[in-house]
């Protein structure tokens, strides 16, 4: 059988024999996948050159959601830009808030109270679960199973209700602000979260029965879209994409920020359980396990919160003018390393704002990954990168 991970030989006859076409050779044709295609996760357009069902070339075209967030960042003052970060990676808005807030805090040299940091950890890890739930659900959709998506939404809705209780919004939270978090947690919220986590862990096992260990799903994902360690580093892939390829690297552990060095949790890496290391199934599995690990961190953070000092927010001047300088802070977003690079000229606006969207970088490997795969595999590979087009295009 054809192994889609294998590059096609140059000689057309060899290729025909490999793909089983015998002496029937086919014309290649260009076909547009997107921008209105059901499984491009938004408005991504991939121009495919196909030989029958097999992709020989792929050119991703992005920019359909471009809103020039970086320009907005230059035009608005530091506090006002905060809500815009929600709109980049809208599935993990808390993480984006955090990345931005941490960059500005570093620029301004603000000290964040312990309590605020723990609340940040809790909310960010919960958001990681919520984001990976979407990744899980939509990956099921890509594979043709619609039910996991709705099951994932069932739990995600509960999480959104939790978020609504703490910050008032269900999607664009604007909760983590410069200097801490906007509100302290309401009464009884801790119990609700812990209760949810208990239920969630049971559901998590159901997901595995429903999709992860389904043989058809494994056949669709194992050995497909294999990213080697070298490629992974060369294309600067981060997050689950990188860990799926077997590289044991997590910003939370290896370049700790906030209080992540005080928690105990495992970092899942791809082991090639169902096929090759670095295939779609590995990336998917890393995300599944990360959900569980995030739950662990949340539980520990709640324990630490009882003895935490300080309030939920540090004192921040009303007019915010950091000194001249620049800094880059990268944090571990559900999709990889989210970095904000801010150049300050001492005024109340940023001189230059640059965002390293993890999806943007993760998507750039498509050009290399898709050739040799079948169209159905292309769908699975795009799904396994778990991109959010709002962040790719910013």
């Amino acid at each position: 059988m054809l192994n889609p991970a294998m590059p096609l030989p140059d000689d057309p006859l060899d290729r025909d024999i490999l793909i089983g076409a015998g002496d029937i050779s086919t014309d290649e044709m260009y076909i547009n996948m997107g921008p209105q295609h059901p499984s491009t996760h938004g408005v991504l357009r991939v121009l495919l050159r196909t030989d029958g069902e097999i992709v020989t070339e792929a050119h991703p075209h992005i920019g359909y959601l471009h809103r020039c967030a970086e320009k907005i960042g230059e035009c608005l003052d530091y506090i006002k830009f905060q809500p815009y970060t929600d709109r980049m990676d809208y599935l993990a808005a808390m993480n984006n808030n955090l990345g931005y807030a941490m960059t500005v805090e570093k620029l301004a040299g603000l000290e964040i109270p312990e309590r605020a940091q723990l609340l940040r950890v809790i909310i960010v890890e919960l958001n990681r679960i919520a984001s990976h739930l979407i990744a899980f659900g939509t990956y099921g959709l890509d594979a043709g199973a619609l039910t996991p998506f709705f099951h994932a939404w069932r739990e995600r809705e509960e999480m959104l209700t939790l978020f609504e209780k703490i910050c008032g919004a269900r999607l664009t939270y604007n909760y983590v602000c410069i200097g801490g978090v906007v509100n302290d947690m309401p009464e009884g919220w801790e119990d609700m979260v812990l209760d949810f986590l208990d239920r969630f862990e049971k559901r998590w096992k159901e997901y595995n029965d429903l999709l992860t260990y389904n043989r058809i799903f494994i056949r669709r994902t194992a050995d497909i879209g294999v990213i080697t360690r070298e490629d992974c580093v060369a294309y600067a892939l981060t997050g689950p994409m990188m860990r799926g390829s077997g590289i044991d690297w997590d910003l939370r552990r290896d370049r700790p920020y906030m209080m992540y060095d005080r928690f105990e949790y495992d970092i899942p890496i791809g082991e090639g359980k169902m096929g090759t290391v670095g295939d779609c199934w590995d990336r998917y599995w890393v995300r599944m396990v990360e959900m569980k690990e995030s739950g662990k961190i949340v539980r520990q953070a709640f324990d630490m919160l009882k003895g935490a000092e300080g309030t939920h927010k540090a004192k921040v001047p009303k007019v915010f003018k950091p000194k001249k300088g620049e800094c880059y802070v990268g944090i571990e977003n559900p999709r990889g390393e989210l970095g904000f690079y801010i150049v300050s000229d001492g005024s109340k606006n940023a001189y230059r704002m640059r965002v390293r969207g993890p999806s943007f970088c993760n998507l750039s490997i498509l050009e290399k990954l898709l050739p040799g795969a079948m169209i159905a595999d292309a769908v699975m590979i795009i799904g396994s990168t778990d991109i959010v087009l709002g962040e790719v295009d910013r």
Partner: protein, 182 residues
């Protein structure tokens, strides 16, 4: 060959396991809400459409300054009597992104995020909401407010009448004015 058959058997086994999950869900209670009839109870922190405690507002426009999308429009004259000499306090919900940044800097803590979330309208202009509802204002204040409003209305009417009269008296002049305006 044997591998293929084994694989097939494994596929059937896992498929049946998955079907067990869906069958279990089939007999569980649905989690959805019947939206227009059943409305979700939003939390007290919910960020819906604003409400303004008007008697507290001092028209300092800090909220409008804090707004990242400039959707709050406040126009007021310097108060002659009391604090209520408003022309407009509009929020354009076509622009508003419900970030709550307008509520934090308010010195009198008079603008809040409300609980209303269903605000779809047929026209964009309908999304501009006048916050001057005068709700929660005491009767005495209301009287004062009404008085000012009536006075203003009378003034406007008088001005309009005078204009009309002038227009009737000298129609040629108004035409010239128009030309000048252009």
């Amino acid at each position: 060959m044997v591998e293929t058959f084994k694989d097939f058997g494994f596929a059937v086994k896992t498929a049946i396991k998955g079907m067990g999950i869906t069958l279990k869900t089939f007999f569980e209670k649905p989690v959805t809400l019947q939206y227009p009839e059943e409305r979700p109870e939003v939390d007290s922190r919910y960020r819906g459409i604003h409400f303004l405690e008007q008697e507290k507002c001092i028209s300092c426009k800090v909220c409008a300054l804090a707004c990242p999308v400039d959707c709050i429009h406040i126009e007021s004259e310097l108060p002659e009597k009391g604090l209520y000499d408003w022309d407009r306090f509009d929020i354009d919900y076509g622009l508003c992104m419900f970030c709550e940044l307008c509520c934090f800097p308010c010195p009198t803590n008079c603008i809040h995020m409300g609980k209303e979330f269903d605000f779809s309208r047929f026209s964009r202009m309908d999304l501009v909401r006048n916050m001057l509802t005068w709700e929660g204002v005491s009767p005495a204040q209301k009287k004062e407010v009404d008085g000012i409003a009536a006075e203003k209305a009378a003034k406007k009417a008088a001005a309009a009448e005078a204009k009309k009269k002038a227009a009737q008296d000298e129609p040629k002049d108004t035409q010239d004015e128009k030309k000048d305006g252009e």
